[in-house]
Assembly symmetry: none
Homo-oligomer: 233 residues x 4
DNA sequence: CATGAATGAGAGTTCATTCAT
DNA sequence: GATGAATGAACTCTCATTCAT
């Protein structure tokens, strides 16, 4: 849109294009080549290195040279791909949230009952922890809490996450799958809090979910307490 | 009466003040200190200033000069009371934990049932938030999560907190006040997670517990879900 | 006719273009170069681009990438034509001086009286300003003064310029067209200074010599004061 | 003004001041001491070092570490006195212009004829060159020309200089001390141009005004040509 | 010819900490 | 106790230049 206006405005160029009958496809390919030439491997190498260093040192203490060292490249190259330190971090955060949103959106459209939906959320977090523990670590220590990092766009991300989860709870209340005498927001807090604490515990203790049996047990416990409570029946 | 005109007349001095951007806050503090000749405990002034600045900027971004500015003293003086920046931080954290331990220890000796014990923990946190929101903020954002800060002594503090709470749960299980088919550690995680998420929400949103009714409701919700679950009965 | 809709339809590509902030200028230049298949002298394209950028930012602040962007080429290519940034600058300066020397040498051989010779110098500078204001700007701001740039070969250029002008003055003194009681070097300084200040004023104010009448007037004023003085007769 | 509003508003403090009848004089002295304590020697040492380095390397190439080295202090200290590199340069430039303005303003009020006024300007520049050649060098190479440096406030300084000089010329035209058939601005340009070129020549060649006789001769030459012209009478 | 990913020396700036007064 | 001038290690970011493709 924006680009095209600029292009259209330049009547001189267009006139030449017409005179020489150069098809838009040629221009197209020129642009495509320009874009695709950028080998994306290095970019993701940098992202993974950043992930690891941030996990070890935290956002503030992670130096660009640490990251470049870890990635095995010069630090100048990081600036080639990410204009500022902040951009690098924003990229990491953004990718994390997008994966969460994807899940939550798919659950919204799903026909499962609330128990199974919440189970899927828990499993998603646990899997994420197993697959990319560094990323999960950052989520817990740098994203999910610190007020300082939760400015502007970042805060929006977080609120969106809460709201999307709350929507599932509200939906369940309307379907009478779950108590309505407690505010949906409160239930959301309680559920996400339980989950987060387990993940935190794993992250902080650098603990692994040793076997699938243990994992299964934790999932069951969270759901059991959330739905049926801790009281002796 | 005070002759304010004397000050107003001397435009030259004012100009310099402006040029050198000497904030009125500093002058205020100078005046304040001069007035209270009995030299109030500078140490606690510094701690409170640190609390406020760390809340606003986070530990890493809080500069010593920010803190001394806020305290209305020179930054050299901070080093007189606290040898290092880290000591300042440690002191703040330590005071926090001690207040928690005091509570948990008193609860252990208490004869209340688990419901009332957990209620007291919740209320303690909520009161702490109302009385010293800055401190609670730091607990949530800097202590309770960040792996970086959880090294050595600090991690011990945290583990001790979990364990002391877990002890209450175990005790309740033995008294059959609470389910034993779920690991005490899991129940602890779930309870503390629920609580923490509420506190986090308040901290992150700079929300106040507006009235005691709302507060009461939240306390009840957490306990209700924890003991009886979210399922429709 | 060109099928612009093709471009409009592909929103994905456009988005990437925006994200990567690939300016429309670059695409323009790509297109331009593709069109003029006879590959126009890249060397002069680079020189003109450099001229423009140096005028805008000064030699020190002009980045090679600015110049390559302006020229619509990769910055690697600049190094193909000019081994170093400095070479680029030297080339620009050299071309400027050669044009001046050419004039001064032709004047030396000429039979005009000193008044007309000096007039030709003034007119030459004014014309140069009108035709290549960027180059004149660089002459004034980067060449004619800065001590830093006047090292080695560059200083020689400058001294040669002064000397060649002085030669005209000496010649005039010998022909008794002009006072001999003032050192030729002094007269040269005074004349060139007057001229240069006018050019500087135009350059600094980005002023144009609006009409030939104004131009005529300034030329006349400089000569009139130089030859007859500012005193009331 | 601004400050006092802030002060007046704080009724609490004022009340205490009144209760304790602390005179405003005490506060005054506290402020004064705060201001005077700053030993100004280091500041001027830095300025002189900067002057020398800038002369040698130019604004752009002058590194902060060069300056601190020259001054024999750590570079951190420069930032203690001048918040940014730019501030340091602005301070230098500002001091220069103020000395010029002082002269021009005193001349305006003076009863001398235009010949003697212009002579005083020339002598001022020559003296300045002899006393502070570094500063004069910077004026010629960095201030008086470069468009890049002439942005915002800096351009204003320059224009003010031209205008103040022009005012003297206009005054002289009105008193019929000088030709009115040539625009005052043109005459100003011619005069300042002549002067500047001499100073430039000295600066560029690192030439000294060897004896007062030579100096006298140059002053005389500039004035003689400016008022009576170069033509043979 | 032409490209642009890759390099790394080097610049500005910040800020915890020391120490003479 | 109290001050703030002084220090310098450490960090982010820039940009001329090289070189494989």
């Amino acid at each position: 849109m924006i680009c095209t206006e600029g292009l259209l405005r330049n009547k001189y160029i267009l006139k030449i294009l017409i005179d020489k009958s150069i098809s838009i496809r040629i221009i197209f390919n020129m642009i495509k080549n320009k874009i695709n030439n950028k080998k994306p491997e290095k970019r993701s190498i940098i992202l993974n290195a950043a992930l690891k260093i941030i996990k070890e040192k935290g956002f503030h203490c992670a130096r660009m040279s640490d990251i470049s060292n870890e990635a095995g490249i010069s630090y100048g190259l990081i600036y080639h791909y990410f204009k500022k330190k902040e951009r690098l971090f924003d990229t990491i955060i953004e990718e994390w949230w997008l994966s969460i949103y994807e899940l939550l959106d798919s659950l919204k459209a799903d026909n499962l009952d609330i128990h199974d939906k919440l189970k899927k959320i828990i499993v998603h977090f646990f899997n994420a922890y197993q697959e990319k523990p560094d990323l999960m670590n950052i989520f817990i220590t740098e994203i999910s809490r610190s007020t300082r990092n939760l400015i502007g766009k970042r805060l929006e991300f977080f609120i969106k996450f809460i709201s999307k989860t709350e929507a599932l709870i509200i939906d369940a209340q309307q379907k009478n799958e779950i108590r309505s005498d407690i505010k949906a927001r409160y239930l959301t807090n309680i559920f996400l809090g339980s989950l987060e604490t387990f993940v935190s515990a794993m992250v902080l203790a650098d603990q692994e979910l040793r076997d699938s049996e243990q994992k299964e047990q934790i999932v069951k416990s969270i759901l059991e307490v959330f739905f049926n409570g801790a009281s002796v029946k």
